[in-house]
């Protein structure tokens, strides 16, 4: 009984450690430059990185009929 409790506790601790490790990796506590990378990525960098990789792969970006397109709408009632 006690042995199974220990096994469950160790298993839970292992899972928790993995979750925490994953969170640390995802949230990026460590280095300052890692933070900068994330901030850039969350703004425009994510898009650019994706386009660059597609370009390198010779994908859609090389097609003359492939464009970057974007639409936006906002209130101007003055």
């Amino acid at each position: 009984m006690a042995r199974s409790h220990i096994a469950v506790a160790l298993g839970a601790a292992l899972v928790a450690s993995l979750i925490i490790a994953q969170l640390v990796i995802n949230l990026g506590f460590p280095a300052v430059d890692f933070w900068h990378g994330r901030l850039d990525n969350s703004y425009n960098g994510a898009q650019q990185d994706r386009f660059n990789s597609e370009k390198q792969d010779g994908g859609l970006a090389d097609d003359p009929s492939s464009y970057l397109i974007g639409v936006g709408k906002a209130d101007i009632t003055g």
Partner: protein, 669 residues
């Protein structure tokens, strides 16, 4: 308000919110190859607004530095039912009491937000073009001038206005869904009449609203992405009208207005164009909705059924300024001609059948003899020299605005020349309102040049405007000779159109695939934003009135209405200029769910929900707000509803406080 040049047309509420719609196209492999096409629910683009947008983009950081004067086009839908007081030059400021920073800033800030949203949504995709004929949404309001164009040229066209809508579809690659459409179709934003005072985007505002709602309601079958944006851009609008039943004398005679000068009994004032729902005493709003609906249906038909042409090739653009006060160039027949400083002719003051002018002016008065009274008025501004009169001939100069600079310039002499290119699609960005035939000539000249210089094969050429600076009208030489309203408002003399065409062709090589530079910027036009007069007073304070509170209902709804009825409630109100509630609402309709909770189903974006504000007493600062819901438009479900009012009151000390009010609930059966 801006459009009819009527100082007594002062805004009293909101029928529909106004929007900037931004469309960005770029080369995924080269960040510098981008363009932004803006469609604003305003009377036009304008130098002040454009300057504000370009400055704002610079301030948004390096990420936005790719957007600048060469590749940002600021066009207006030409609504005549929007707020005024945001334009750069004095002439259009006069009837809206100068320049109002609040109104200006709302347009600039909203436009920048629309660009930011477009930029942040950038994704890989395709652009494709389709067309359809919309037969019943425009006619020519200056047929007599149009008929002055050569017979052989007119015979090439089946209609005396352009009836083809050209539409671009933007489709993202990730899932094949459309993120938006952008189209060009010429029809004046004059469905809403000069005697109504509610803010709206006129027929193109309706068209965009209806198509976006239609797509949103049926997104999966429409294969459209969330946030789908529909831009209805203006085209060669100059002599078009949405009043498709024709122009009639409202003097009891029931006769059509005289063809050559749009008069009734020799006067302009009784001649009015009739929209499809003429006869309703509604300021034209039913006709406006109908003309908007016809454009939305046309766009939807292209979107759903048309065979689209894929757009393919480089993204290019250029912009420069050219001084048209004395621009000398050679016509195709070899003669050397020049333009003149801007001037308005007598017929400018006659107005059109969409909005007749005042006094004794009529259209079609080439070479009219001098009128001593108006000569005195005109001379008080800037007397035209002999050279200016000769240059502007046969236009009799009424307002010599290009040489009037006190207290600051009245009208532009320096004009924007801008063209955008996406593959074989070429967009002429016109600062003025080109007439039907002017637009055809301009597009054809660009088309031929693009082909002959191998910039693109099988080009699709469209014209969008009025854009960037507002330079009034662009009539052909033949139409100029007739001197109806459009000819009289063609600023730079009889060679105005050819000057635009010549300048455009001069810089078209900058659109070539191998073009690596931009044209010289040209002379700088004056920036009048910080020196403009403003006679619009701010809000002093709001008062609720003795024993009353802001938002309190003073006239409540009835307990029950039949669907199709008009429901309204009146509240103790406050001045809406305390808070424009941008991206928000002044009014809403809430519906009760089966669990007793309430959900908003309409807001002041919706055409059928009208917000009206009325100052009751200037001394006590009291005002009424009436919110009206016309349930006949969209057939809402039966159920229990209530009207909600959102306001902001200003105290004597300047503090502004939000408040809300709610009507009693009512049943719609």
């Amino acid at each position: 308000m801006m459009g009819y040049a009527n100082s007594s047309q002062i805004g009293s509420g909101l029928r529909q919110r106004l929007y900037s719609r931004a469309f960005i196209v770029g080369n995924p492999s080269e960040t510098s190859e981008r363009l932004v096409y803006l469609v604003l629910d305003t009377q036009s683009g304008d130098s002040a607004i454009r300057n504000g947008i370009l400055e704002g983009l610079q301030a948004m950081g390096s990420e936005y530095s790719v957007y600048g004067k060469n590749n940002v086009a600021v066009t207006g839908t030409h609504s005549h039912a929007g707020p005024g007081a945001w334009l750069n030059y004095l002439l259009p400021q006069i009837t809206s009491q100068g320049f109002d920073k609040q109104s200006y800033q709302a347009i600039v800030d909203g436009t920048l937000l629309s660009i930011r949203r477009a930029h942040e949504s950038l994704t890989l995709g395709t652009v494709s073009a389709g067309t359809a004929k919309i037969a019943d949404a425009n006619i020519n309001r200056s047929l007599f001038a149009y008929l002055a164009n050569p017979q052989a040229e007119r015979d090439r066209y089946t209609d005396n206005v352009d009836k083809t809508m050209t539409l671009l579809k933007f489709t993202r690659a990730s899932d094949g869904k459309s993120i938006g459409i952008l189209n060009w179709f010429p029809v004046h934003g004059t469905s809403l009449l000069g005697n109504q005072t509610l803010i709206a985007g006129d027929n193109k505002g309706v068209a965009a609203y209806l198509l976006e709602k239609d797509i949103e309601a049926d997104a999966s079958n429409s294969n459209a992405a969330e946030g789908f944006v529909a831009g209805f851009s203006q085209a060669n609008v100059g002599d078009t009208t949405p009043n498709v039943l024709g122009a009639y004398c409202e003097d009891g005679s029931g006769q059509q207005c005289r063809l050559n000068d749009s008069t009734c009994g020799g006067k302009s004032q009784d001649c009015h164009g009739r929209g499809p729902y003429f006869g309703l005493d509604d300021g034209g709003h039913r006709s406006c909705y109908e003309i908007g609906r016809r454009q939305a249906l046309g766009a939807r038909s292209i979107y759903d059924f048309n065979e689209f042409t894929p757009i393919s090739g480089k993204v290019r653009s250029f912009h420069t300024f050219v001084d048209f006060s004395n621009f000398t160039f050679t016509l195709s027949n070899g003669s050397v001609v020049h333009t003149c400083p801007a001037a308005m002719g007598n017929s400018f003051a006659a107005g059109t059948s969409d909005g007749p002018g005042a006094f004794d002016f009529v259209q079609n008065d080439p070479g009219a003899p001098s009128n001593p009274f108006w000569n005195i008025v005109g001379s008080a501004i800037a007397p035209p020299s002999k050279e200016q009169k000769e240059c502007q001939y046969p236009k009799p100069v009424l307002l010599n605005v290009g040489q009037a600079n006190i207290p600051y310039p009245w009208s532009p002499n320096i004009v924007d020349i801008q063209v955008l290119r996406v593959g074989q699609l070429v967009i002429i960005v016109s600062p003025g309102e080109a007439t039907t035939m002017s637009g055809r000539r301009w597009r054809e000249a660009v088309h031929n040049y693009i082909v002959s210089s191998n910039i693109a094969s099988s080009p699709i050429v469209v014209l969008g405007g009025p854009a960037n600076s507002y330079t009034h009208y662009i009539a052909t030489e033949e139409e100029y000779g007739i001197q109806r309203y459009e000819g009289a408002s063609t600023l730079y003399g009889q060679h105005t159109l050819n000057a635009y065409i010549n300048s455009t062709l001069t810089y078209l090589p900058y659109l070539a695939d191998d073009a690596a530079s931009s044209p010289p910027p040209g002379p700088s036009p004056p920036d009048n934003r910080d020196k403009s007069i403003s006679l619009i007073t701010g809000v002093v304070y709001d008062g609720a009135g003795f024993g009353r509170s802001f938002g309190q209902v003073t006239k409540d709804v009835l307990p029950t209405y039949a669907r199709g009825a008009t429901v309204s409630a009146t509240f103790v109100g406050a001045n809406p200029r305390n808070n424009l509630r941008l991206e928000g609402t002044f009014a809403s309709i809430e519906k009760q769910n089966s669990d007793g909770t309430w959900v908003q189903v309409k807001n002041d974006e919706d055409w059928e929900l009208v917000y009206q504000w009325k100052r009751v007493n200037g001394l006590t600062g009291t005002s009424d707000v009436t919110i009206t819901w016309d349930t006949s438009f969209t057939g809402p479900e039966a159920g229990t509803y209530k009207i909600r009012y959102y306001g902001d009151a200003k105290k004597v000390g300047g503090t502004i406080t939000e408040f809300e009010g709610s009507s009693a609930s009512f049943k719609l059966t």
